[in-house]
């Protein structure tokens, strides 16, 4: 069944690796919904988290193709509902600071005042969407930046594929 699936890919921290991985999704004409990259605990490794919409067979095939790359050490794939998923939003805004403060408090977001007004929010992607909608109704949005999702697999997560190490 087609659904959002999260790939956790542990890779060598060097040039060209992200290109090789995204190229595999490109080859089969899949749109990457989100991609985030960060260092891991190991000195020379990074973790790439990619979200795509795919069925089980496609996910299995992607996981194998990605794992075959020599610079890829491990691939874990899990349906989104098997993961704890968060996203960071930074929104640069114009409007009444007091009103903005109220919205921020409502969402558990943080308002930063350093020359401009920046709203910082961490939450589930659906809540990020909702907050953006509210902000655009009430304030002037100068610019928004979203990180894309970062996630960890839940302890009781189901249908998890694991390749490597």
């Amino acid at each position: 069944m087609k659904k959002e699936r999260v790939f956790f890919i542990t890779v060598a921290d060097k040039p060209g690796v992200l290109f090789k991985i995204t190229n595999i999704f490109r080859r089969k004409n899949f749109n990457i919904e989100s991609v985030t990259v960060g260092k891991t605990l190991a000195e020379d490794e990074s973790q790439i988290i990619i979200t795509i919409n795919a069925d089980e067979e496609e996910a299995d095939s992607f996981a194998r193709m990605v794992k075959r790359l020599i610079d890829v050490y491990e691939v874990v794939e899990a349906p989104k509902e098997s993961c704890y998923v968060q996203e960071l939003l930074l929104a640069k805004l114009e409007g009444d600071p007091d009103m903005l403060q109220k919205v921020a408090e409502n969402y558990g977001a943080q308002l930063i005042k350093n020359g401009s007004l920046i709203l910082k929010y961490v939450g589930e992607p659906a809540n990020v969407e909702e907050l953006i909608k509210e902000l655009s109704n009430k304030f002037k949005i100068i610019h928004i930046s979203r990180t894309g999702i970062t996630a960890v697999v839940k302890e009781d997560g189901k249908d998890i594929l694991r390749f490597g190490r």
Binding site: F19, K20, R64
Partner: protein, 561 residues
Amino acid sequence: MIVMASYLSGAQALVKALEEEKVEVIFGIPGGATLPFYDALKDSNIRHVLARHEQSAAHMADGYARASGKVGVCTATSGPGATNLLTGIATAYLDSSPVVALTGQVAKSYIGKDAFQEIDTVGIYTPVVKYAFQPLSASEIPFDVKAAFYIASTGRQGPVLIDIPKDVQTETAEIEFPEKVEIKGYRPYIKPDPEAVREAAKLIIQAQKPVILVGGGAVKSEVGPLILELAETFMIPIASTLMGKGAVPENHFLSVGPIGMHGTYHANTLIMESDLIIGIGVRFSDRTTMDIKEFTKERMILHFDIDPTEARKNIVNEFPVIGDLKESLTILVSEIKKMMPYMKNSPWHKRVKELKDYYDGRIFGEKAMSPLIIKKIREILGPDDIVTTEVGQAQAWAELFYKVLKPRTFITSGGLGTMGFGFPAAIGAKVAKFDKTVVDIAGDGSFLMTSNSLATSVAEGIPVVVVILNNSVLGMIAQWQRIVYNNRYIASYLGETPNFPALAKAYGAEGVRVNGIEDFVKYFKEAVRSEVTYVIDVPISPEENVFPFVPAGKSLREMIV
């Protein structure tokens, strides 16, 4: 561990690193961005074979690798050199052939500035190589070379690129040469799970109508004797893919030849009547299985392979056993031998024998000249002599009628289907096995794509025999247009040009146009004895079809004969 350190240029370090890998020969063409490398090569004993087009240089290295089992090395300059070479490297990739490609690159400071003959070589090669290196300092070169050879030749083999900027070739440094390399994340050796092998053995015992299907992986890992042991214990027929030809001798009483779009009638029939397919070093490509639903219906599929990516790639409900083939099969054979063997006169074995007796070597179609030519080639050549093929009808006739007796003596572009492959691959194979006769079974269309390799063959003293099955058309295209597109021919007629014997002679080779089978035999024998490159032009009818033929989208049952 470091064996030695010396003060060298990057180019000298490259040559020294290649010598450390015991490279005997490099196929290539120099250019601006590889001049420092060539200058250093002048002081080496490594032989250089000058190609006339980079694509051919890559095919030569590939042919050398496939004939010898060693890593083939080719080189080209930056830009157009690298893009020309690409087709040959993609060919090696699709057939898992160990080739190391060395390309020159513009100096580091020019990269990304659309400099003269600059192209993003690593970018365009990445999807068709096992790995791509781009050393950015001379001191990185020995590691990259050692790693490239290691990656190319281990696990599922394949080509590796090393793209070296010109200033990295010229800079000098104290350079250390590692004795061994370790590549994190690369574990080519996979130990098979004995439990899975035992499970596989059970499935084989239970099967009533098993067929073994051998592929290119079985040729490369030299498991022919193990496969024969398995087959003979249970009297299981052995079919092959195009790439698997020669893994076991095709004159063995259990061999039924290749399956696929142009498989033998009996092999295709048996595989579709089977209840178990034992795939060994195969990837179940579309040209082998044809309609995959029909192929997998009503039978179990066992799949032995070294590459975990292949498990369930094309056949979702197969039973994969991933790991080193030699080890998997050794366990399998010992497990099987503990159990009750098949009876020789089982109904399945009778069926195999009945079909084989009737269809083995059978020629379909009225105007069939090409199968006769190919059978004659087989009669005249020794078991260790080598045949390469071009791509198209000539390839399919060779697949059907040339019985391969030893591994690595049948060399063809199976995966990518690259026209123009056979002739330069023959030159590479001849360099690897100089005491053997090497014959390219060609069509006129394919041969013309790389016929300028005649210059290399003559100038470098690498004599091979080219047999052109000359029908003045792009034969396979014409056959499809005739059968599938209701005789609506377009762009498939080549005409009676060039005059191939004259072309051969213009290059200093021998050339002859023969008339009929007897004439062919006479000149072919002369060509085999001859110490010069020999082109034999065999006129055949433009309407000659390759049969059996399974049209695209049909099942292996639906053969046109």
